[in-house]
C-alpha cells in the first residue's frame, strides 16, 4: 500500500509543488537563479526518464510480439515475425553505430548516420510511411463525396465553407475568383479562431484541474487505478 500507492503520490505532489514554486515564486535574484537551476534539473530528469522509457517501449513491443507468436495463431504470426525482424535489425545496426561513435569517434558515425541503419530508414521505412499517408487522399475524397450531402441548411453552410477553403488552398481558386484566397484567410482567422479558442482554453483549464487533482491525491488513473 505505502510503496505502491502512497509513495508515488507523495513524489508527484512534491514535484508539482516544487515546479510551482520554481516557476511562479520570486524572492530575489539569487533565489530566482537557484530556483531556475533546480527547475532545469527537474526538466532534465524528465528528459532522461523519457529516454529510458523509449527502451522500455522497445522491449515491450518485442515481448508482446513474442507472446503473439506463441499464442496468436497463424493469422497473427507473419505480422509479428516481420515486426520482430524489423526491430532486431534496426537495433543491431543502431547499436553498431552507437558503438562506433564511442570506439572510433573520428569516423563521425552515430546511430542515425550508420550507413545500413540510414539505408533501411530511407529506402524501407520512408517509402512505406509516405505510402500509408498518401493513401489517405483516396479515403478522404471518397468520404467527402459521401459526407457532404446537403440535407439541411447547416450542411449547406458547411459545404460552402469547405469549398471556399479548398479553392482558397489551390492556385486554381484564384483563377476562378480572386476573392477565394482572402475569404479563406478570413474564415481561418475569425470564425475558426472563435471556435478553437474556447477549446484551447478549456483544455488549459482541464490540465490545471488535472494537476490539482493529482496534487490532492484525487487523480489516480496514472497509476493504473480507477479510483
Amino acid at each position: 500500500m505505502v510503496v505502491r500507492r502512497v509513495l508515488p503520490q507523495f513524489i508527484v505532489s512534491l514535484v508539482i509543488i516544487l515546479m510551482l514554486i520554481f516557476y511562479f515564486f520570486y524572492i530575489n535574484d539569487d533565489v530566482a537563479k537557484t530556483f531556475s537551476a533546480d527547475d532545469k534539473a527537474l526538466s532534465d530528469w524528465a528528459v532522461i526518464i523519457s529516454s529510458f522509457a523509449l527502451i522500455v517501449g522497445g522491449v515491450d513491443i518485442f515481448r508482446f510480439h513474442l507472446t503473439q507468436l506463441r499464442r496468436g495463431g497463424l493469422k497473427q504470426a507473419p505480422f509479428s515475425v516481420v515486426t520482430l525482424i524489423a526491430e532486431l535489425t534496426m537495433v543491431v545496426f543502431g547499436a553498431y553505430g552507437l558503438a562506433l561513435s564511442y570506439l572510433n569517434p573520428a569516423l563521425g558515425i552515430t546511430i542515425t548516420t550508420q550507413p545500413q541503419f540510414r539505408w533501411l530508414y530511407t529506402y524501407v521505412y520512408a517509402p512505406s510511411d509516405s505510402a500509408m499517408y498518401s493513401i489517405l487522399v483516396f479515403y478522404i475524397a471518397s468520404a467527402s463525396y459521401r459526407a457532404f450531402r446537403v440535407r439541411n441548411p447547416m450542411a449547406l453552410l458547411l459545404l460552402i465553407v469547405a469549398i471556399i477553403v479548398m479553392l482558397g488552398n489551390t492556385s486554381l481558386g484564384a483563377l476562378i475568383w480572386p476573392g477565394f484566397l482572402p475569404l479563406r484567410d478570413w474564415i481561418m482567422t475569425i470564425p475558426n479562431t472563435a471556435a478553437f479558442r474556447p477549446i484551447t482554453i478549456g483544455a488549459g483549464l482541464g490540465v490545471i484541474i488535472l494537476g490539482l487533482r493529482m496534487l490532492v491525491w484525487r487523480e489516480v488513473s496514472w497509476m493504473g487505478r480507477r479510483e
Partner: protein
Amino acid sequence: MSFLSKVEKVLSARELLYTLLLVAVIAPILSPIGLPIGISSRTRDVYNYIENNLKPGCHVYVEVYYEVAARGELEPALMALTKQFFDKGCKIVYGSLISTGPIVFSLMLAGAPDIFAGKEYGKDYVFLGYISGGESAAASLAKSIKGTVKVDNYGNPLETLPLMKEVDSATDFDLVVIVSSGTDTFNYYVRQWYTPYHTPLLFAALSVIAPSIEPFVGAKQAIGMIVGQRGAAEYELLVGRKGLGIASMDAQSISHLLIIVFIVLGNVVYWGMRVTSRGGGRK
C-alpha cells in the same frame, strides 16, 4: 432504374473516383500546367517580418518535427525559410523533439545542396539531433541547450562548435521556427519558449493542423504561420527558389477541383432523386 440512379451508381463507384484522383495527382506532376500562384497577405507578412527584423549575424532556432509522411508538405517551407535565413546572414541551430528528426533533416540537407553551399557546419548551422522528453525537453532547451545536450547529432561536443559559443538559451535567439506535423509541438514552444522568455515564434504547419493553432497567431503568441503546401509554394516564390512546393501545386489544384466536382455532382443527383421521388409520390 432511372437515369439519376444510374448516375448515382457511377459516381458512387470508388474505382472511378480513385482512378481519376490518381490521374489528377500524377499527370500535373509529370506535365506541369503552371497555374499562377497568388501570394496571400499572411505569407507575405511572415516574409516581411523576417526581412525587416532579422539582421546579419542573427540566431534562429528551428524545430524539425515531422515524419517522412509529412515531408512533401513541410520540407518545401523548411527549405525556403532556411534559404531566407542564410540570405539574411543568420545562423541556424536545428533541433528535433521527434525521433524521425535526424532522418528528415538529412533528407532536407541532401535535397538542398544549393542552400547549404558555402555554409560551414558548426559555424553557420548546427543540428542537435533528436532530444527525447517532449515538453520537458523543450523547457530544458529553453533554459540551456548545452546543459541539456552535450553532443550534436554527429557526436561533436557542443563546446567545440563556434556557433554554440554564441547561443545557449531561448533569449539568445531572435526567432524560433517550429516546422511540425503535430499540434502539441506548437503548444510546447508557446508554453516553454514564448511565455517565459518572449522569444518570437513562427509556425510552419500542415493544412490539417493549422486551424487548431490559429488562436496562437491571433493572440500574437506567434508572429505568423506558413500553412501547408500552398503556404510553402508561396514562400518558395517569395525567396526565389522553385522547389517541391510549387511543383505540387498543380496536382493539389486539380485533385481539389475533382473532389469539388464530385461533391457538387453528388448533391445534384441527390436532390434530383429526392425531387423526382416526391413528384412520383404526388402522382
